[in-house]
Symmetry: C2
Subunit: 236 residues, 2 copies
């Protein structure tokens, strides 16, 4: 059941004090993109580059840094003791991740494709939050958003395969969508491990949705939403 090719290491510092202009691949406005926290990270952050499938941090490592995706995409995950992989979340350009309440990371993080991230010491952010209430509020709001996402995920995982895939598509559409065309940076296996399904079920479900003209799948990483209301109906 292990489907992963985790290439450890391979990351290196590319430059510090990255330019304010983002080279991000996505057009969508992300959480933290135009706010005090995001700006702070751009000022204080070190720009790091991670090749496809390389590890950004590992489970149980101390959560000393906070990350913001500049370009590429990131998945967090956990390997269960039966060998299965559960994906915790996907992070796209503009998204902030690694912001744990706990002292150690509960998930590992990997670059899905070649990825650039801004890295800031967590202690720097929290001490800043002590002085700047705006930063504090944004950190709080980010954490509570993360919490909300987890709750949504719990609600998702008790639903049928079709409902899970529909929810996933709508979620991605909100984040990486241009004109109803969703660009998926992750593989089918990633999606399956995110939704708690097999790769075959994901594939079949997409085919099924295509058959009912709910979506179009011009290429495997590109999905066009043709009938959002049908998806919303499935989403529940």
């Amino acid at each position: 059941m292990l489907t992963q090719t985790a290439n450890r290491g391979g990351a290196g510092v590319i430059g510090r004090f990255a330019p304010a202009k983002q080279s991000g691949s996505g057009a969508a406005t992300r959480v933290g993109e135009q706010n005090a926290l995001g700006q702070t990270m751009q000022l204080m952050g070190a720009l790091m580059s991670y090749p496809r499938n390389s590890e950004i941090f590992g489970e149980h490592e101390p959560a000393d840094y906070v990350y913001k995706v500049v370009s590429g995409a990131v998945r967090t995950y956990k390997i269960l003791n039966d060998g299965r992989r559960q994906i915790g979340g996907f992070y796209l350009p503009g998204d902030i991740f690694g912001l744990q309440l706990a002292e150690e990371h509960l998930f590992s993080a990997e670059a899905i494709s070649d990825t650039k991230v801004l890295v800031v010491k967590r202690s720097a952010l929290t001490s800043l939050a002590g002085r700047d209430a705006t930063i504090g509020r944004e950190l709080f709001s980010l954490t509570s958003r993360e919490l909300r996402r987890m709750q949504d995920r719990i609600l998702l995982l008790v639903k049928s395969a079709q409902e899970r895939v529909a929810s996933f598509l709508l979620e991605m559409a909100e984040r990486a969508c241009a004109n109803n065309a969703v660009e998926l940076p992750m593989s089918r296996q990633d999606i399956a491990d995110y939704l708690g399904l097999t790769i075959e079920t994901v594939s079949r479900t997409l085919t099924g949705l295509e058959a009912t003209a709910t979506i179009e799948v011009p290429s495997s990483r590109r999905i066009v939403l043709r009938n959002r209301s049908a998806l919303n109906r499935l989403n529940g």
Copy 2:
């Protein structure tokens, strides 16, 4: 699929400044039972009494209060738009609930059996946390524990029925266990809605575990763990 008998209202204030001695039904030491936060709640809290199946707070209500179970048991839940009920968690004597990061409750809360809870204004706690770092740390630690539980739940929900039930039993054993005998305050339907299974599957799984001498079920609300290592193996 609606299986609930939610009796709204019916709650009343029984007394303020509850005695320090707990009349809790459980013997186990709970989160917050012997710490600054727990003590604070006992000093500042109003003791409220809720009959079986009555609502303590509703989804989307402002999360202005924090609750600590004195006796009885509480479930939080959400009704999905297809009518199913997803249970967010169970709270036993000593447990603190209603501590949201967000401004509104994401779940409703109900008394499973006749229940007494201590109620404290959230603002009182947070302002106290500003003056007393210990309280602040404990609030933080509680929140991060809650988060951890949610993550565990996500990992649980991708597993098989047997694994879910085994995990549930072990979880309850850690909380409401005396000498390997687990006392369940909740119904099979509650368990099913917690694990994302049907009541029949839960029942059959328990029968199956009994057949392999992993557990004993002397009465439906009482389960004796006979072979913990087998359960742990299932739990993964």
